[in-house]
Structure formats: structure tokens, C-alpha cells
């Protein structure tokens, strides 16, 4: 079954991942979208993404991170969740097929870490809103 790709949209109509991607350098944006397309063509549990699509752990369990290094060794990260379920469950979410839901992106200088507060504010809060809403809040 082929998967789709959707982008989380806030209640205010903002699409954080889209804004993040548009703000990335062209090469970075191309790399991040290439990973999404490869994973979409061969979604989990198949191995895909060339190691650039990684399952996260701990408090970020359930999220997937696409990793890319850009100019100035800045690290660009795009956060996604897999939205899969029974045909009835998918229909309730507004989908016909499973989706890779792109939530938001973050960027950091080389040799630094994101704090849990950053993950909570910029990723989990949005992901919770996405997963807690039926039908899903997505860009259209």
C-alpha cells in the first residue's frame, strides 16, 4: 500500500514544517524532501531512508527524525510521525491510506544539543495536537 505525506497545520492556519522547509537552504530542503520520498516509497517496517530517517527514543518515542547537515555545519532536523491504522481508523482521521505526518523542523549549530524543553515546545506540543484531533489538522 502506498503512503501519503501530510503536513500538520495549527488551528491558526500555520504549517510549521512547510515554513521550516522554505527557510532552509535549497540543498538542505532537497535532501530532507528526498528522504521523505524514499521512505514514502518503502515505508516502515522496510528499511529505508539511508540511515537519514531515524526512530527517536525516550520522550520523543513515536517520532522520526530526518537528519541533514547544511552550510556552516548547521544541523537541520525534520520531525515526523507515522499515522497508520485500520481502514476505519484512517477514515476517522480523514485519510484513505497511511500517512507520514510532517510536524515541524529545528536547526542547531554544530556540536550542540536540543534541550527537552525545545523538543516539548516545538515538536511534541504540535505532535500531540495533531494526534489528538479528528479529523487530523493538515495543510490542504
Amino acid at each position: 500500500m502506498s503512503w501519503g505525506v501530510v503536513y500538520y497545520r495549527t488551528r491558526a492556519g500555520v504549517v510549521p514544517a512547510h515554513e521550516f522547509l522554505l527557510a532552509c537552504p535549497t540543498g538542505v530542503r532537497a535532501k530532507l524532501l528526498a528522504v521523505i520520498e524514499v521512505v514514502r516509497a518503502a515505508p516502515p517496517p522496510a528499511f529505508s531512508g539511508g540511515g537519514k530517517w531515524e526512530a527517536m527514543h525516550g520522550k520523543m518515542s513515536g517520532y522520526y527524525e530526518i537528519r541533514c547537515t547544511g552550510p556552516g555545519r548547521r544541523h537541520y532536523r525534520l520531525y515526523c510521525v507515522l499515522d497508520n491504522g485500520s481502514p476505519k481508523g484512517l477514515a476517522e482521521r480523514g485519510f484513505e491510506v497511511p500517512q507520514i505526518a510532517v510536524i515541524n523542523g529545528l536547526v542547531k549549530p554544530n556540536a550542540t544539543l536540543f534541550t527537552d524543553a525545545e523538543y516539548a515546545r516545538h515538536v511534541r506540543k504540535l505532535g500531540d495536537d495533531y494526534r489528538g484531533t479528528l479529523p487530523r489538522l493538515i495543510a490542504s
Binding site: 532537497a30 535532501k31 528499511f47
Partner: protein, 106 residues
């Protein structure tokens, strides 16, 4: 859903930019090549009924290193790939692409 979703329209628009398209296609080829190699090694390992730890023992590598190579090989070490292929009765080959080679500007 082809060509009608937000993502498809976004990607189609981006692909109209030649710089984006070149990088997108290069990246996709690279990822697909890594996926093909890792997928083939995983297939052979499965066919032989070897656990990742057993494969690691056979090639004298740390099990974590083999597990990482087979699950999240961001930049897999060539020697590990070659050793794993050898232990699984396979070999890595470079073959010419059918498309013309990409030439870098001087």
C-alpha cells in the same frame, strides 16, 4: 492522491528549480543505493538465519556496530559492509551507471 496533495504540489513546485532538482535526485540516488545494499545484506542474513550478534561475531565486530549498520547506517563503514557481505557469501561490486556520469564544474 497523486499530484493533488499539499505535499505533491509543494514538491512539484520545488522540482521546477534546477538546483533543487539536482540535489534532490542526487540525494535520492545515494539513499536508494544505501538502502539497496543494507536491504540485500539484511535479506542474506535472514536467509541464513543469523542474528545480528552472530553476524558481528563472525566478522569480529561489536554487535552494536553491526546493528547500527543494519538499522541506521547514516554513513556505513565500507570495511564493515565488505566484511558482512563476505560473511554472508556475497561481495560488493561497483558497476557503471547507464546514465551519463555527472560532471562537476572546475
Amino acid at each position: 492522491m497523486t499530484g493533488t496533495t499539499f505535499h505533491d504540489r509543494f514538491l512539484t513546485g520545488q522540482l521546477a528549480d534546477s538546483e533543487f532538482r539536482a540535489e534532490f535526485e542526487r540525494e535520492r540516488r545515494e539513499i536508494e543505493a544505501v538502502d539497496a545494499i543494507v536491504g540485500a545484506l539484511e535479506g542474506l542474513r535472514d536467509e541464513r538465519g543469523l542474528s545480528k550478534a552472530e553476524l558481528a561475531r563472525q566478522i569480529g565486530k561489536n554487535p552494536a556496530s553491526v546493528r547500527r549498520t543494519l538499522t541506521a547506517p547514516g554513513n556505513p563503514e565500507l570495511r564493515t559492509i565488505i566484511a558482512m557481505a563476505d560473511a554472508l557469501g556475497a561481495e560488493i561490486k561497483i558497476v557503471r551507471q547507464r546514465r551519463p556520469a555527472v560532471r562537476q564544474a572546475a
